[in-house]
């Protein structure tokens, strides 16, 4: 398949293969998880579908490769997957030493804590002496120790590899608190029979920009991925939705005209068809729709992922 020398050509390789290979989580509620029929669903999965639509005009031309925390980077490095949409935190060392690029942050997250309401804890600072459930092998573990050290808090860790077991350990009361990205906390909380029994503490102890990943040195493909994300954002910003994207031919706003490729030009610059954006939004919806479809039901608020003009961090550069 592709070597890093040919990495510059992921785009062509994908086109000639007729299929996008997308690395996803082995199972994370709301983000990526097969349903009862074995069909992959979730927020990250929609990004795979969006990129596939951008390239092929067909959201189903995707092959999903479930990746674990340990093998996700090698999967990308070795060309086993083309793009990674798998809640991966963008950090300096990963960006530089692992041979990866992070074209776009599709979800801004931060690490937080969840406790049971019955515990009566209102702030993470009160967690002195607590037992805390944490997943190993990710940034979470280090964030936790960093935070504990800076706040002079002593805690007992319970380190379990698989998320399901970790959550069930927390639910069963093995730990007083459970720490992971706030989105994950919210997802866990909403999955509980009585969400009100659990409280997500206000402290966010780290910045976790969850980014899409591609191989380093493949600017063209990175552009496609990056602008697919921006397309979803811009579509939301300009009110382009799955329902109305077909009927916008006469929309007066020039930016909208450029996005839907009325006058041509932008798509081909990316190596895509003129109507790529229409197809993507038609198939997937805009950022807000994707968010509402997958993350809202499990209790995640927009928060930092709101549009820039709504007080959030999601900001799309202009389509021009």
């Amino acid at each position: 398949q592709q070597a890093p020398a040919a990495a510059a050509n992921t785009f062509d390789a994908v086109k000639s293969r007729g299929q996008l290979v997308c690395g996803v989580n082995t199972g994370l509620a709301g983000f990526a998880q097969p349903d009862s029929q074995g069909v992959w669903r979730g927020f990250d999965v929609e990004y795979c579908r969006a990129v596939a639509t951008a390239i092929f005009g067909d959201p189903n031309k995707v092959r999903y490769v479930p990746t674990t925390a340990q093998n996700r980077f090698t999967a990308l490095q070795s060309g086993e997957v083309d793009v990674m949409a798998r809640n991966t935190t963008w950090t300096l060392s990963r960006d530089t030493s692992l041979g990866l690029d992070f074209p776009a942050v599709n979800f801004y997250d931060g690490q937080g804590f969840m406790v049971k309401t019955a515990l009566g804890v209102k702030s993470a600072k009160e967690l002195e002496g607590a037992t805390i459930c944490v997943q190993p092998g990710t940034t979470t573990e280090q964030n936790l120790t960093d935070w504990a050290r800076s706040n002079r808090i002593k805690f007992t860790p319970v380190v379990i590899e698989r998320l399901e077991e970790l959550v069930s350990a927390y639910v069963a009361g093995r730990c007083d608190a459970y720490t992971t990205d706030v989105s994950g906390l919210a997802a866990t909380r909403s999955a509980q029979p009585k969400p009100a029994d659990h409280l997500i503490l206000p402290e966010v102890i780290s910045k976790e920009p969850l980014a899409l990943g591609v191989r380093q040195g493949d600017a063209r493909f990175a552009d496609v991925v990056r602008w697919t994300h921006f397309l979803l954002l811009s579509a939301e910003e300009f009110g382009i939705t799955q329902a109305n994207v077909d009927k916008l031919g006469n929309d007066p706003r020039p930016e909208v005209q450029r996005i839907i490729g009325k006058n041509g030009g932008l798509g081909p610059m990316l190596g895509l068809a003129d109507d790529w954006a229409v197809k993507v939004v038609k198939a997937i919806g805009n950022y807000g729709e994707v968010f509402d479809r997958h993350l809202k039901p499990i209790g995640i608020q927009r928060g930092p992922n709101a549009q820039w003009n709504q007080g959030g961090l999601q900001f799309s550069p202009p389509f021009r």
Partner: protein
């Protein structure tokens, strides 16, 4: 001849009527007395165990059948949650059983892996019957495995193509176990022969292989196959993830089986080697016709034991993100609606493993008995 005279003569001798033993000697009562209540300690143990068994059985029946919820309308698991653990929520199996069995294989195409499972079972059954132990069996294997490959991949005969990443569940377990053992076995035979070779370098290589591989846990090998293998290959070259796991399992099983086979080789009397040599058979003729057929027969029980072990060990591929039966079961309960019903899923998955392993273990026992009967006349 002398037997005949004895028989006829003895028949003439009037036989004293045998008395039946006193009542305490036969019947249910006697059986109970000797087997369950032969001393006060025995009686106490019997009563205690009987009590526990009855209690647990009743508890399980109540939980698993009487109070159980068998299905719920589309993902509304409230009914299950209301049970608060006093009854099983089999609805999770009703809802997810196809995912557990077939993973992310395209839903409409599930008949294909289902057929494959049947083919596997059929293959095992045929191979288990001694009257089919002929050369043609190898052809049956090749044909069946090919058919399974065609069914799973598709792409021809009008079957839509299904990439390997979408395979999952029981089929993956069966594939990993069957291919793993089918390929590890010849490897093991070669290594076992090599370990008994007179050529020091070959012997050393085999010893090194066996000891190195046996000394480390399977998960570290799987891990290496998953994380590091891409680094071993030239840039751009890559091997499918399932195949890598498969290779790791083959290498691991090969080392274990090699030791079992070596045991058989060692148990064979030296005279058999010498007789074959004296007849002028070449090394490979000797090995193929004389040594292996006997050595392998000797080690069928430990061989089957090892098979059982590896059938179960395929569940370790979950470490590297392949959706085998167990991983599929675990993934099925990630969905928020179904979180918390792990026990039901684990019980089901465990039952499936149990059926296969138990069948193997019973089979090995009967086979052992049969072969032994054959040996002594």
């Amino acid at each position: 001849m002398s037997d005949v005279t004895l028989e006829t003569a003895a028949a003439k001798v009037p036989e004293a009527a045998p008395r039946s033993p006193p009542a305490s000697q036969i019947g249910l009562l006697a059986w109970l007395r000797t087997n369950l209540f032969s001393s006060w300690l025995n009686s106490a143990v019997t009563l205690l165990i009987a009590y526990l068994v009855v209690r647990w059985t009743i508890g399980f029946v109540e939980w698993g059948i009487v109070n159980a919820v068998w299905s719920v309308p589309d993902n509304q698991t409230q009914a299950c949650r209301d049970l608060k653990g006093i009854g099983a929520c089999w609805a999770v199996i009703t809802e997810k059983h196809r995912f557990i069995l077939f993973g992310t294989y395209p839903y409409e195409e599930h008949w294909r892996p289902a057929l494959c499972v049947l083919l596997f079972v059929g293959l095992y059954t045929v191979s288990a019957m001694r009257r089919f132990w002929r050369k043609e069996l190898a052809l049956v294997w090749v044909a069946t495995l090919t058919a399974i490959g065609v069914l799973m991949w598709g792409g021809i005969l009008g079957l839509p193509y299904v990439p390997q990443e979408r395979w999952g569940g029981l089929v993956i377990t069966l594939i990993l176990a069957t291919f793993g053992l089918a390929l590890a076995f010849p490897l093991a035979v070669l290594v076992a022969l090599g370990r008994r070779s007179r050529l020091p370098a070959i012997k050393a290589l085999c010893v090194l292989y066996v000891e190195l591989i046996r000394g480390v846990p399977l998960i570290s090998l799987l891990f290496m196959a998953s994380v590091m293998f891409p680094l071993f290959l030239p840039e751009g070259m890559n091997i499918d993830k399932l195949l890598r796991a498969q290779i790791a399992i083959i290498l691991f099983a090969g080392a274990y089986l090699a030791e079992v086979v070596r045991g058989g080789l060692q148990a064979l009397p030296k005279g058999q080697y010498e007789a074959a040599e004296a007849l002028g058979l070449s090394y490979w003729q000797k090995t193929g016709f004389i040594i292996l057929p006997q050595a392998l027969r000797l080690v069928i029980p430990p061989l089957v034991n090892t098979f059982i072990g590896f059938f179960k060990d395929t569940s370790l591929v979950l470490i590297i993100g392949i959706f085998d039966l167990l991983t599929a079961g675990k993934t099925a309960i990630i969905e928020p609606a179904w979180q918390g019903f792990g026990v039901e899923v684990y019980l089901t998955v465990g039952a499936i493993y149990f059926v296969f392993c138990f069948a193997m273990s019973k089979y090995s026992q009967s086979l052992e008995a049969e072969l032994n009967r054959h040996r002594n006349r």
